[in-house]
């Protein structure tokens, strides 16, 4: 029986953690771009856009991420496109993130007092000018803490990609646990590595939140 040291385990987990980080960033940035487009679409007042985006959000918030991953994996294949777990995970997580972010940001825009919109309108600014110069800059400030906070959810979400075969931190953990017969140690390490990734982000989000509310009133 091969003896595995703690360092062996950690080293392999850390290597896999690169993929966790990569996938998280791709989903977060991609989801942010899609989410922003959806937000502007919704705000623009195009007929039906509110309901359509609302349904999109409801779909992703009302179904398990695991199912979304499976559907991406098997669904894209239906179109004859070869899906690797990586592609499916990237697509699913990007769309998942876009739904949550667009909803968070919609809330932030809604928090801007009506008076700001009215003052901008009274100064003859067009809708896009109102949005770009008056509303969005203010909404952005409010949006930073919850957006950063959601990054934590994305990182945790990448763990599910292991189920469709993508080798990130959790999958590596399963594999190593099977190889070393030390599931307690291995999964404890996996948990601690996720903690090491997520906790600092959580702290930053919390401190941003405090700074924001300390500032305002």
């Amino acid at each position: 029986m091969v003896e595995f040291s703690l360092w062996d385990i950690l080293r392999n987990l850390l290597l896999a953690a690169r993929w966790t980080v990569t996938l998280s960033l791709i989903a977060f940035v991609g989801g942010g771009i899609v989410g922003l487009l959806l937000l502007v679409l919704r705000l623009s007042g195009v007929r039906g856009s509110g309901r359509a985006v609302g349904a999109y959000v409801q779909l992703f918030q009302g179904t398990p991420l695991l199912m979304q991953l499976f559907l991406a994996y098997f669904g894209i294949a239906l179109f004859g496109i070869k899906t690797s777990p990586w592609t499916a995970a990237a697509v699913a997580l990007t769309l998942y993130t876009s739904a949550y972010l667009t909803e968070i940001w919609r809330g932030c825009v809604a928090a801007i007092p009506k008076g700001q919109w009215e003052a901008a309108q009274s100064l003859a600014l067009s809708f896009y000018e109102q949005l770009r110069h008056v509303v969005l800059p203010q909404a952005l400030r409010i949006a930073v803490p919850p957006t950063v906070g959601f990054l934590v959810q994305v990182i945790k979400g990448t763990a599910l990609a292991s189920v469709i075969g993508f080798v990130e931190l959790t999958k590596a953990g399963s594999m190593i646990s099977n190889a070393t017969y030390q599931p307690f140690l291995v999964y404890a390490c996996v948990a601690l590595l996720y903690f090491a990734l997520c906790f600092p982000v959580s702290l930053v989000a919390q401190s941003l939140e405090r700074k924001l509310h300390g500032n305002r009133h």
Binding site: P113, A119, Q121, A124, L125, S126
Partner: protein
């Protein structure tokens, strides 16, 4: 009967000869089933100062907000400077709002922009004024309202009275023909009201057309050319301040005026 209505009409429209700058005809507005404006007729002449008074819920603010299109009315017509108000046309609304400026009870300064930038924003975007010219104009307007040194200050560093004066400067930067003032001193501490009213008075003396919803009766009496008393969505009484305040004709106005002295 006929002479009374004619006299009413002349009182309402001021000098009947010149083309009114704001013309409101049979305006009706409802919020759902609740009719808030029940047929308003009003003509405002260029350079006239109109004070609109009445109890809360009488429709005063709503009427004012109809003039610059913040509220949509269901029936009647509203013309500013000869042009009909068309809610559906963004370009018409943009044009309208360059003619009509508004000052709000809550100031509504843009908190993320400095005082100077607050004033410069609209002229730069809407009138395509270049930054230097806009800045120069902003400084000049700030001097006019007595806040020359506050160009780089942020709104949250200013008192309420100062913020409201900046709001006035901001509206003036668009060189409007008409200024709408919606209870602009109601949110201010009493000692700050004077500085704002002084600016408004100077605007009136310069010949700006003003429509003010106000609770400052002494100010209204002093500065306005005509006072409109609104009650339950209608113009209940209208006339020169001395007439209206001195000899209220209807029991509702008498009751309103006496309630203010409590």
């Amino acid at each position: 009967m006929a002479t009374a209505t004619e006299a009413e009409k002349t009182a309402q429209s001021g000098t009947a000869s010149a083309r009114p700058i704001v013309e409101i005809t049979a305006l009706r507005k409802s919020y759902g089933a609740n009719e808030v404006l029940k047929g308003i007729d009003l003509k405002v002449q260029r350079g006239e100062v109109i004070a609109i008074i009445g109890k809360s819920g009488s429709g005063k603010s709503t009427l004012l907000r109809c003039v610059n299109g913040l509220e949509v009315f269901q029936d009647g017509a509203l013309t500013v400077n000869g042009k009909q108000l068309l809610h559906d046309s963004p370009s018409a609304m943009r044009e309208l709002r360059q003619q009509v400026g508004m000052i709000f009870q809550g100031f509504n300064l843009f908190p993320h922009l400095s005082v100077g930038r607050n004033i410069m924003l609209a002229p730069t975007l809407v009138k395509a004024r270049d930054a230097q010219a806009a800045a120069a104009q902003a400084r000049q307007l700030l001097t006019r309202v007595g806040l020359a040194e506050k160009f780089d200050a942020m709104p949250d560093q200013l008192s309420g009275g100062q913020q409201q004066r900046v709001a006035i400067a901001r509206a003036l930067a668009m060189e409007p023909q008409v200024l709408l003032c919606d209870e602009i001193t109601s949110a201010l501490d009493p000692e700050l009201v004077g500085e704002v009213l002084r600016v408004v008075e100077s605007l009136a003396l310069e010949g700006m057309t003003l429509m003010m919803v106000t609770h400052e009766m002494a100010f209204a009496r002093k500065v306005s050319d005509r006072v409109i008393f609104m009650h339950q969505g209608r113009v209940h009484e209208a006339g020169a301040p001395a007439e209206l305040f001195g000899h209220p004709q209807t029991p509702e106005l008498r009751q309103f005026l006496s309630s203010l002295h409590d």
